[in-house]
Each structure stands twice: as structure tokens, then as C-alpha cells.
Symmetry: C2
Subunit: 308 residues, 2 copies
Amino acid sequence: MKITALAGGVGGAKMVDGLAQILPAKDLTVIVNTGDDFEHLGHKICPDLDTVCYTLAGLANPETGWGRKFESWGAMESISALGGPDWFRLGDRDLGTHLERTRRLRMGQTLSQITTDFCSAWEIGPGILPMCDEATPTMVLTEQGELAFQDYFVARHCEPQVLSFRFANIENSRPAPGVIEAIKAADHVIICPSNPWVSIDPILSVPGIKDEVGKKHVVAVSPIIGGKAVKGPAAKMFAELGITPSAQAVAQHYGSLLDGFILDNVDEEQVELMESMETTTFVTNTLMKTSEDQAQLAQEIVDWINSR
Amino acid sequence: MKITALAGGVGGAKMVDGLAQILPAKDLTVIVNTGDDFEHLGHKICPDLDTVCYTLAGLANPETGWGRKFESWGAMESISALGGPDWFRLGDRDLGTHLERTRRLRMGQTLSQITTDFCSAWEIGPGILPMCDEATPTMVLTEQGELAFQDYFVARHCEPQVLSFRFANIENSRPAPGVIEAIKAADHVIICPSNPWVSIDPILSVPGIKDEVGKKHVVAVSPIIGGKAVKGPAAKMFAELGITPSAQAVAQHYGSLLDGFILDNVDEEQVELMESMETTTFVTNTLMKTSEDQAQLAQEIVDWINSR
């Protein structure tokens, strides 16, 4: 059974890591959000791609969920001492990734080519694809004006109240090479427990991707458990947009794209509501604290998909 | 007594550090070679400026003479693992300097402005000036063709035989703000024990600098001791250009610009030859192994200058 997963950062990386533990590498492809990507200190930084890749390569920092383990901070300390911008914390090993990626981009290589090469160097089995090769920066319209995503997310700690989102330049983007093929080849598409607004919607907004996903069996895993996001601002965003954050709200957000939805045991009472939406549901423990949790959830989802 | 020093990398930094130990900060200005500067991994790297600044700031690695102490190498390891260029070793703290400098250059600041700001952040007392704000890359014509300086120096370990040097774009450069003023204000100009060909000649080739230096009392410290360079390829360059490397050859290289020359005890027999050149000489221990050696040599030179 071939699976293609749509993933953002930390939650997506955990789900994908679980799937990678139980599926043959050739049967798993991950399409990753690049709406969070930005230029900082002259470098192209791809937070979600790096989180997914570092996680699959065993290079991720298990405590933060982002960045690298065994990391040092010499470059940032040096920049801080010179009064330079230190609001976006870049570890030294992580910085090496951005330097080499930026060097290759300046040589004319595409983000998808570079990602393939990096995955090969990091000995990552599953296919990892950026959603597109073009820059499509996510803009957050807030009560304090429109903010670039990392300005909203990191510099302002998601504090400004959100009004809406805009994926700049998305109309000029094309699915990266392999993306449409991976969706076509998939028996199931899994939408990872990532932020629907700023991790999954950008992927689905690249012209052509949502149409192709819509032809497939699609299941989503709720990133909202007990009305709260496991990580990040998803619940806060739902609330600010006037929607009570819940697993059901996530399912409603994806609407008719889904034919299956996975939610946590603590949200079991929402199953009845969702079945009125004609979405079949699977209820289990979706909180992934350990690598074993990740593999177990992945196995349960795959078994459930197979049994339907 | 005001001193203005002309300096390259390691030898220059040692001499300047000695002078900084014995002179009031306001009485010492250093004009630093930027012919070695280059772009690497998207960053502007200024090896001689950084060596001089790190040394004066107490941040230099005392074992290598270049780079920083307490350094880590996470970024380079990461780049190496991705198959990226790792021939020019950049430590993490050092990299922070290049990132912040490059960020400011892209904002439109000049190298001399940035250097002043960095020296302030690093609490360096003496004035440190790049010779010019323009890029004037030193090119080494060798039997293997013309090579950019760092390609010759680092990537090829100075192995190709040298035919001549060219300071690209030097005719379009101007002395950085403060350079001419510092020379005019100096009671003496000291040419540090740096490579005459690729550290001092670029400085003297910036239009206007040599003329202004020529109006001053100028002394040079020999970088050649016992026919060998303390560090770097100076002796090899002399030999390849058909000149027996010696303290005397250094004095001849600078010619009538000098009115005083400092050479090592081991080269005492060359004094007689040099006095026929009408250059007065001072013979002492010029090998600076420790910080105390640096201060002692600086004090001896200043005392000698004062006594003339």
C-alpha cells in the first residue's frame, strides 16, 4: 500500500516518522509545506522541510521538535555580540544546512533537487518533496497589519490576533516535480496532524494539488486534542477566526476532501457529530510522545485504512 | 607619539598587539590589507581584518593565529556531510562575524563603517581601518595560471610556483575614510612583519597611500628571519621570483620608502649590506612567540624610533 502524506513541521514530522517506521521506504512519499520558508541573514530557511528531514534522519532535537540535536550556538552568540539580529535562533549545524542549500540555489538548483540530494546524504529512505519550487510566502493578516509568517510566528510569538491568511505568489507556483505523480500513485493520502491554516492549506493551494488529492482516499489526523493544539497556534487561530477549536472543526475545515478522520480518545464524544458529515472516524490515542507512540499510531491508521 | 601601522594577517596582528599593549589607544591606528578578502558560501570574508581584530579583542585562537578561540565547527561538519565545499574552514563563531558583516554590506554599509562598529562591540581601542572599501582581490599569476588568492593560499596550499601578482580593481579603489588622515597624523609609520608581496603591497597600491606614506618616517620589521618566513609563503615567493629570501631582500623590496629597518639577531651580518642602502637598522629578537614578546619588541622599536 502506497501512502502519500501532506506535512507541516513538528506534528507532521512525528506522523511521518511513525509511517517511515512501519512502511517500506518506497511506499511513502511526503509533500511538505514550504509556505513558512523565508530568507534570513542571506540564507533560505525551510523550517518544515528541515524538521521533517532532520526527524527522519535521526538528526532532530527531540526536546524542541525543531533544530538539531548535539547543536552548538557559536554563530548566534557571535552575531548577538555584534548587535546583529538574533530573534530567529539558528544553531550551527542547522546553519550549515541553510548555507549549503542557499549556495546551491544561487547556482541555479531547485529546492526539490537540493532536497533530494540532502535526503540522499542524510540516508532518508522515503521520498521528501517540497510542495513547489517557487517561493510562496505565507502572510498573516492580523489586527496589527499583515505580517510575514516568521515575523508573526517567531518574532511576535503568535500574539497578534489573526484575521486571515494569504499565500503570496501561490497562483504562480506549480507542484514540484514528483508531487502530482506521488499523489496519483498513492492508495491513500494522509493529512498529518499539522496546522490546517498555515501548514496544510498552503500545500492544497498550489494549483493542481487539491484537485489531485480530491481523487484519492484521504484521511486526516486531528492536530487538535481536547480543544487544544498539541503544539503551535492552531487552536488560537481557530478561536480568533470565530471557530471553536475542536477535532470536529478540523474535519469541517477539510470538508468533503476527507473520507476518513482520526481523532483522539479524549474527543470521542465528537464522533457522532462527524458521522453526520459522512466522514468515517477512527478514535485512538493520537498524542505522540515517543518514537514508539509514532509507530503505533501509524500502524493503527494503516490497519484501519486497510480494513475499510 | 602617534603610530600608524600597515598590517596583513598573523604577523601583522602580533606586531599590532604588541604596539597596542604599550601605546595609548588614541595613538595607534592600523591600516589593514583587504586584498585577501573574498566571497565564500555567500559571505564576505576578510581574513586579515578579522585576524587583527580577533587578536586585539582577545578572541583569537593562539594556536593557529587565525580564527577564534573556544571555536566549534558544527556548520562546517554539516556542510561536509551534505557534500558542500569545506576546503575553507570556517568556525561557527567566526562564521557569525561573516554573516553579520555580509548582512550589513547588503544593507549598504561600507566595510570601514562595519569594521568601526565591530571594533566598538569588541571593545578594541586602537583605530582599525581597512585599506579601502572597494573589493580589490589579489590575483596570483602562477605556472598553473592566474589564481584568486584564497584558491592559491588555502585550496592549493601555496604550491603553484608564483610568477607575479595583480591587485584587481585597485586602480578604482580609494583609501578608506580615515586612512590618509591617519598617515598624515602619524609621527611614524610602521610596516609590520607581514608578507611584502600580498599583505603590504596591496595597501601601498591603493592610489594615494604610498605617496602619503612616503612623506613620513617609515620603518619596517622583517617578516623573514634566517632566510625563512615566520609564517606563510613569503620566503617561497621571494625564491620563486628569483630573489634569495632574506631580511635584506625585504628592505630592498621597500627601497627608498624606508628610513629604518628592524631585523632579527640571527640576521645581524646583513646590517652592513643594508647600511650601504642608507637604511638605518635595529637588530633585536623579532620572533614573537608570546604576548610578552610582542610588547617587548614593540617597546624596543618605539624606543629606537624615539632615540633617532
